[in-house]
């Protein structure tokens, strides 16, 4: 195992045991301690012997630890590297939904299946096969089928098209797009990730696309940080940032809701996009934006990642966050499909939580002047 390399590449050897990471970790609370500090120390002291697979799968890779680390230890990246080795040895996290989403990713990576992923398109949405602006759809069509009880996820994609149409852009959609590979990368299935990366890169590179717009922070982060061979002249934008730069072109009608914004880890702590979604919300007349105590870089993870290791800790994190949101606002807005799904799932059966969770782009599209 290339442990030394992982330690070097992710700055792990720079740890001086201050413990800020453990304090920042959302998995650490009264009676449960998840300590990146202890994990790092143990591995530095005992090498491979010191690796606890269970602890490696438990990490949410939310980057709260690294955000506070004075030595720039990239703990989530370190976990990712170790997971890559664990997968080779047959260890794997506990998959949610019987691993269906992981199976779908592997099937896409095989490159043989012909998907029907644009069935959600309707006549009211204007797209153009010749446009040089690509809207990367991501896995929303699958979420609609697998997680239908948590509302529609292509609603987000439709809203994205509507918003782009309203500023005069007819985006292009790829009918043979595959998953960006984020979850495969972060579960350590590196080869599957590389297959997905290759397929997307080939298909996009040979098109005339100049800009790619993402509604999903995970797709955006993965393309930006982990796609090595994408044509260099292609600009990558998360839709929140893209629209944030064009706020003057958007016309919204009155909306008297009181909302709070949940920063997702990939959009926030990974990519540092904190203000554009807020600017967009504030551009809606009458909309009141209130902040939860932990916001922006202090935002709390939605409790589970990569469709695995969803457990009572996840539920606790979600319910605590929702309780906070419901005491200050009518609605929690998020710009990440996973946050949306996880919070909506946590709301099931929690009648005392008087709040709603909504996607940022759905909210904005509903507020557009007709």
């Amino acid at each position: 195992m290339e442990l030394d390399e992982a330690v070097r590449d992710t700055n792990v050897q720079m740890c001086y045991s201050c413990g800020k990471c453990t304090l920042a970790c959302p998995l650490t609370h009264d009676d449960h301690i998840y300590s990146p500090r202890r994990i790092v120390e143990t591995i530095l002291a005992h090498g491979e012997e010191g690796i606890s697979p269970a602890e490696m799968w438990e990490c949410l890779t939310c980057n709260a630890c690294s955000t506070y680390c004075p030595s720039d230890v990239k703990f989530p990246a370190f976990v990712r590297e170790i997971r890559g080795e664990l997968v080779k040895d047959g260890s794997y996290g506990e998959c949610s939904h019987a691993g269906i989403l992981h199976s779908l990713m592997r099937l896409m990576a095989g490159g043989q299946v012909k998907q029907k992923r644009l069935e959600w398109l309707d006549d009211s949405l204007e797209t153009s096969p010749r446009s040089n602006v690509l809207l990367f759809v991501g896995c929303a069509p699958y979420y609609d089928a697998v997680l239908s009880e948590h509302g529609s996820h292509t609603e987000t994609t439709k809203s994205a098209v509507k918003l782009l149409n309203s500023i005069g852009i007819k985006p292009r959609l790829l009918k043979d797009e595959v998953c960006c590979g984020h979850d495969m990368l972060w579960t350590g299935e590196t080869e599957t990730f590389e297959d997905l990366e290759r397929i997307n890169t080939e298909r996009i590179n040979k098109s005339k696309v100049k800009k790619i717009i993402f509604t999903c922070p995970e797709c955006y982060d993965t393309f930006k940080e982990n796609y090595k061979d994408l044509r260099e002249d292609i600009e990558l934008h998360h839709l929140a940032q893209f629209l944030g730069d064009r706020i003057d072109d958007l016309e919204f009608k009155e909306n008297g809701k009181k909302v709070t914004f949940q920063d997702s880890c990939r959009l926030g702590r990974f990519q540092g996009i904190y203000e554009p979604p807020r600017d967009l919300l504030l551009a809606v007349p009458g909309l009141e934006l209130v902040e939860m105590e932990d916001n922006r870089k202090k935002s709390v993870c939605c409790g589970t990642s990569c469709w695995m290791n969803c457990d009572q800790e996840s539920k606790r994190i979600q319910v605590e966050r929702l309780e906070e949101a419901s005491t200050i606002a009518d609605m929690m807005i998020t710009a990440c499909p996973k946050c949306l799904i996880h919070y909506r799932c946590a709301m099931d059966g929690q009648s005392k939580l008087d709040t709603d969770v909504k996607d940022l782009f759905v909210m904005l599209a509903e507020s557009l002047e007709p």
Binding site: C95, H97, A98, I100, L104, M108, G110, V113, S148
Partner: protein, 139 residues
């Protein structure tokens, strides 16, 4: 010379009805093609869409889920759950391009050995016409 295509079928049979039906087919010496592997589950409602996709991933060409007739479920409403889950699995199979008709849900009681053999035969015939699963794999 490429060998002719032989479908690979995976059948999830519930312990109380379909699996006993398969047993009866065997003890009655009924003939049906050998292309099927049977997985016994306690209830057809136990079969998650994830299991079905995982099976396609490993290279099977068709999946049969067989449970008790409506109203006869040993667990009262497990087979109703199975119906919902198969609905989801079919929707997903359709989007990924495997096609919903590679998944079949059948009600087979413990006394229907003959019906079990007929269902298997018919399904294999259908998959033979459809050809190998687009997902590939080598189960």
């Amino acid at each position: 010379m490429k060998a002719p295509f032989e479908p690979k079928i995976l059948a999830f049979c519930c312990n109380w009805c379909a699996y006993s039906g398969a047993d009866l087919a065997g003890t009655s010496r009924l003939q049906y093609p050998p292309n099927v592997k049977i997985v016994r589950v306690m209830c057809s409602g136990r079969v998650d869409p994830g299991h079905i996709l995982r099976a396609f991933e490993t290279g099977v060409d068709g999946i049969l889920v067989a449970g008790c007739h409506p109203g006869d479920c040993h667990y009262i409403s497990g087979n109703e759950r199975a119906e919902e889950r198969i609905e989801t699995a079919k929707a997903v199979a359709e989007i990924i391009g495997i096609g919903e008709d590679r998944i079949r849900l059948e009600w087979i009681s413990a006394s229907e050995g003959l019906r079990f053999a007929e269902v298997i035969e018919d399904f294999i015939k259908e998959i033979r016409v459809k050809g190998p699963s687009p997902a590939g794999g080598d189960a």
